[in-house]
């Protein structure tokens, strides 16, 4: 499962850090760091964090890793 935070929208309210401190953290007073990948154990917390974001800046993809139809393309 993956996530990305739109850090243009993010204003450092840090609600996600309170709710999922293993996935999100603050670097200094305002800069947000996040783990782009998380596992089942964090799912519930990430869901709460994303819902709580006051500027709705967190995009989460709960699907299993998509299987890419990668073509080796050795022409």
């Amino acid at each position: 499962m993956r996530l990305v935070v739109d850090l243009n929208r993010c204003q450092g309210f840090a609600q996600c850090v309170f709710l999922a401190p293993d996935v999100f953290s603050l670097h200094g007073d305002e800069a947000l760091l996040f783990s782009p990948r998380f596992d089942e154990a964090q799912r519930d917390r990430v869901e709460k964090a994303a819902a709580a974001c006051p500027v709705q800046a967190i995009l989460v993809d709960y699907s299993d890793e998509p299987t890419l139809r990668v073509e080796p393309d050795v022409g």
Binding site: A14, F18, A52
Partner: protein, 403 residues
């Protein structure tokens, strides 16, 4: 609507149970001037934009004489205004300091660490429902949990809590523009503040000598006693009055929407979006009446002149059809729910994460264990406060309790 009576109507108790038709009326004029020069702002974009506008002050000393100055204690109490009634840089310094033992970056796991204890309190409260066919959700559930939570956060001994009950009520009603205008209420609030202050002075002194758990101990070395006292008073009041409303409003709203309740019972995961939707639909803080324009501000075709008191109507903005489709519908599936239930900008609710943790702990468990029969009074009786709006009691009939 008669001009000049808008703020009176907002605070009129007759509109407490259902203020939303009035808010819908308000939104027809997004920025409305009262005869006394107060501006009432009720649409989403305008409220949001003003809440983020550096020309708007939370320090009510910027108001011209003759206007109410909530948050400014009388000289004799000696306590400074709490941080919600200050502007940067004072605000930022205070809030950063208080945040140090409370949240990230320094203490990201402090609140998370309280989940277990709060879950235990929820279990005890619900165990006490055993054998009853009727309970008052406010007295029996919504009120005791936040009290315990805020006492744990601060490090106030639980056995002292009943004393806070009285003080907190008096202080909260002083935030209400209607009763807050009355001398008697202000005096009561002032007295409550002094009494609580005296208690806290002792407590803080004890914490200085014998540091214990909770943020008061952590803050004692870094803050002046007066600032710490003012902060503790604010957090206690906020902790008592707002989360109670949030939990009660969630319960009331679910019982009023049996279709959503049915889904929730089958899918407890619905709790997360559902709680956010309640914060939009029935926000615990309905409006912020203590801001002041520091300069002329053009908004939605109106100029708010420098010095004007400004009321930001969060609950009206949360139902703005320009922002939320079908806004009067309670819809937990709503996408992009960027509600203003906890305000926005630098004064975003300090206790929001605590309130959310309490809601996440309390709501699913309440509905998992309790089989509700019906609301016994709808609408329920509301408390007088128009800002911190919520039912005084929520009597419900229950059919049973699961372990």
């Amino acid at each position: 609507m008669t001009p000049g009576t808008i703020t009176a109507q907002i605070t009129d108790y007759a509109n407490r149970a259902d203020p939303y038709p009035l808010y819908a009326e308000l939104r027809k004029t997004p920025v409305r001037r009262e005869d006394d020069g107060t501006y009432v702002v009720s649409t989403y974009e305008e409220v949001r934009s003003l809440a983020n506008d550096p020309r708007l002050s939370n320090d009510t000393r910027n108001r011209p004489p003759g206007h109410a100055r909530p948050g400014q204690p009388a000289e004799e109490t000696g306590l400074p205004p709490s941080f919600i009634f200050t502007d940067p840089p004072v605000h930022d310094r205070l809030r950063d300091t208080i945040n140090r033992p409370f949240g990230p970056p320094h203490s990201p796991r402090f609140l998370d660490g309280l989940r277990g204890e709060l879950a235990k309190v929820v279990t005890e409260l619900l165990d006490a429902f055993e054998g009853k066919d009727q309970v008052d959700i406010v007295e029996d559930f919504s009120y005791p949990l936040p009290v315990t939570a805020i006492c744990k956060v601060l490090g106030v001994p639980r056995e002292d809590e009943p004393r806070f009950h009285v003080w907190a009520d008096a202080l909260a009603s002083s935030l209400d523009p209607q009763s807050g205008g009355g001398d008697e209420s202000q005096e009561k609030a002032q007295r409550a503040r002094q009494d609580m202050g005296a208690y806290l002075t002792d407590l803080i002194e004890t914490k200085r000598r014998h540091p214990g758990p909770g943020i008061l101990s952590a803050l004692a070395p870094d803050m002046t006693p007066a600032d710490l006292e003012a902060t503790a008073v604010l957090l206690l009041v906020a902790g008592h009055e707002t989360t109670v409303n949030a939990i009660t409003n969630t319960t009331l709203t679910l019982l009023r929407h049996p279709d959503v309740l049915q889904r929730f019972l089958q899918d407890p995961g619905l709790a997360v979006p559902l709680i956010e939707e309640v914060l939009r639909y029935e926000p615990p803080v309905q409006f912020v009446p203590w801001t002041t324009a520091l300069a002329d501000i053009d908004v939605a075709g109106t100029t708010i002149p420098k010095g004007s008191p400004v009321w930001l109507m969060l609950a009206a903005a949360n139902r703005d059809p320009q922002r939320f489709a079908d806004p009067d519908r309670f819809d937990p599936d709503r996408k992009d729910n960027e509600h203003l239930g906890f305000y926005t900008g630098i004064h975003y609710c300090f206790g929001a994460p605590l309130a959310r943790i309490e809601l996440h702990v309390a709501v699913p468990e309440l509905f998992r264990r309790v089989t509700f029969s019906q609301l016994l009074e709808d609408p329920p009786p509301y408390r007088a406060n128009a800002v911190l709006r919520g039912p005084r009691h929520l009597p419900v009939a229950i059919e049973g309790l699961t372990a």
